[in-house]
């Protein structure tokens, strides 16, 4: 699988263009959390022609609803939630300049096409490894929708968040390719 790549947010087109599926990445810098309810609200703002609570240009959104932080900690366990629920919103956000998404699970064709068109990347983080992933989070601050509790938008500062490239600018899909390599099923199955 080769060398682990260190990347810093915000991401530029050339950062994203260099990524290929299966590439392991350690991501550092600012990432924003958002999941179901926050996406719905951002979409309502876009449809109403109003500004978003965060500038998403060049940014990375992490699909996570963290557990409450213990005293003295920046955040509780913070692993990815399943991404397909955000599929209906992602192409629009990519069009507006979003560069990366972190989650788990397969994306729709529309999202994969939008990653090609607008030069974006979808990273996988290990689902169920919330305690481990939380160790990469240095700071967490709610920046919008506090009433949503775990679903609020948080600005995280992360250091070396361990990720893998699942969908790249070529339209490739690690889930498809990986399963093809190890499947013992007849292809028609």
């Amino acid at each position: 699988m080769g060398e682990i790549l260190r990347l810093q947010t915000p991401l530029r087109d050339e950062d994203v263009e260099a990524l290929r599926i299966g590439q392991k990445v350690l991501l550092s810098g600012v990432v924003y959390t958002a999941r179901d309810a926050a996406h719905r609200r951002m979409m309502d703002l876009i449809e109403a022609g109003k500004p978003l609570p965060i500038d998403i240009k060049g940014q990375v959104i992490y699909y996570v609803g963290p557990a409450p932080a213990k005293p003295g900690r920046p955040i509780g366990s913070a692993g990815p939630t399943t991404s397909y629920r955000m599929d209906v919103y992602s192409p629009k956000l990519l069009e507006l300049g979003l560069k990366g998404m972190i989650g788990k699970g397969k994306r729709s064709k529309e999202v994969i096409d939008a990653l090609v068109r607008y030069k974006g990347v979808y990273f996988g983080a290990t689902g169920g490894a919330g305690a481990l992933l939380a160790r990469s989070v240095l700071e967490a601050e709610v920046v919008a929708y506090e009433d949503l509790g775990p679903e609020a938008i948080r600005r995280l500062v992360v250091r070396e968040l361990p990720l893998i490239v699942v969908n790249d600018v070529l339209g490739q899909d690690l889930y498809e390719e990986g399963v093809k390599r190890y499947s013992r099923q007849p292809q028609a199955g």
């Binding site: 299966g22 409450p68 290990t126 305690a131």
Partner: protein, 279 residues
């Protein structure tokens, strides 16, 4: 009649939910260690190693292994000679959930289906109550995450499809779930009963320890075949491709209507969290 205090139930439920969320069972840890040896994909091996490391951190720091600390599913086996004093059993369970999710820094994931407004304390609990002989009260806390639950389903199959049709359905369900439920998964299968009974059988099946065998030889064989077919799918850890898609398949079965063949598939991620206590 044996008396058990309301507060005793509250404390027990609270403790069980915190423990279940922070300490992964030895059976699961063992199954993951064995899976690392059998996994052929280097990335798959790394993912499995991350899960072991994650479990270690969660236990050491007493933080939940996954941020999705689940809806609070509770199985209760209540001896018919038990009397709860000081309040209603269900209220004691709800209070235990409230306290456990607050004191354990567990995420509250219960919300209104339409408005999605969070209930704020992870109640209501989902309680499955069974009356049994004796004077003991057994409580099993099973926090159930949304990602794997979303990939679960009940089907009312046509009886003519028989055992092969049931097995095809289970494999198809796991295949369609793909990377979504955070594989490696554990698959609970409920066969028979009615619509709701099949689902409860499937959920109960998930309480069996990994590595245990079904006492029914036919179901034991079925579990082995299903596990092999599921692992042949090649989904692998996290869906990145690999040998280990499931750590175990557990089947529970009971008679059904002459016209019906209900089959439920309840998918569980590696965080197979359940802790029990007998009062």
């Amino acid at each position: 009649m044996r008396e058990i205090g309301f507060e005793k139930v509250v404390e027990t439920v609270s403790r069980l939910f915190i423990e279940a969320n922070t300490e992964l069972g030895e059976d699961v840890l063992d199954a993951i260690r064995k899976a690392i040896e059998r996994e052929e994909s280097p990335t798959g091996k790394e993912v499995l190693a991350e899960l072991l490391e994650n479990a270690r951190i969660a236990k050491e720091e007493q933080v939940p292994m996954c941020q999705d600390t689940g809806l609070a599913v509770v199985f209760v086996e209540m001896g018919q000679d038990v009397h709860i004093v000081g309040g209603h059993l269900y209220e004691a369970i709800e209070e235990g959930v409230r306290r456990g999710y607050r004191d354990g820094y567990l995420r509250k994931s219960a919300c209104h289906p339409f408005t999605r407004a969070n209930t704020g304390d992870n109640t209501p609990a989902i309680i499955h109550m069974e009356l049994v002989p004796g004077d003991r009260l057994k409580i099993i806390a099973m926090p159930k995450g949304g990602g794997s639950e979303n990939m679960s389903a009940v089907a009312m199959l046509t009886p003519s499809v028989g055992k092969p049709g049931i097995m095809d359905y289970v494999v198809k369900r796991v295949k369609e779930a793909g990377s979504n439920p955070c594989p490696p998964v554990i698959v609970g299968v409920g066969i028979g009963g009615t619509l709701e009974k099949a689902a409860i059988l499937a959920k109960r099946a998930l309480l069996r320890p990994l590595g245990s065998h079904n006492p029914d030889p036919e179901l034991d064989q079925m579990e082995r075949e299903l596990l092999e077919r599921i692992n042949d799918l090649g989904i692998g850890p996290q869906g990145y491709g690999g040998r280990i898609t499931a750590l175990g398949v557990f089947v529970e079965m009971m008679p059904c209507h002459i016209a019906s063949l209900p089959v439920a598939v309840n998918i569980q991620c590696h965080a197979a969290r359940h802790k029990e206590a007998v009062l």
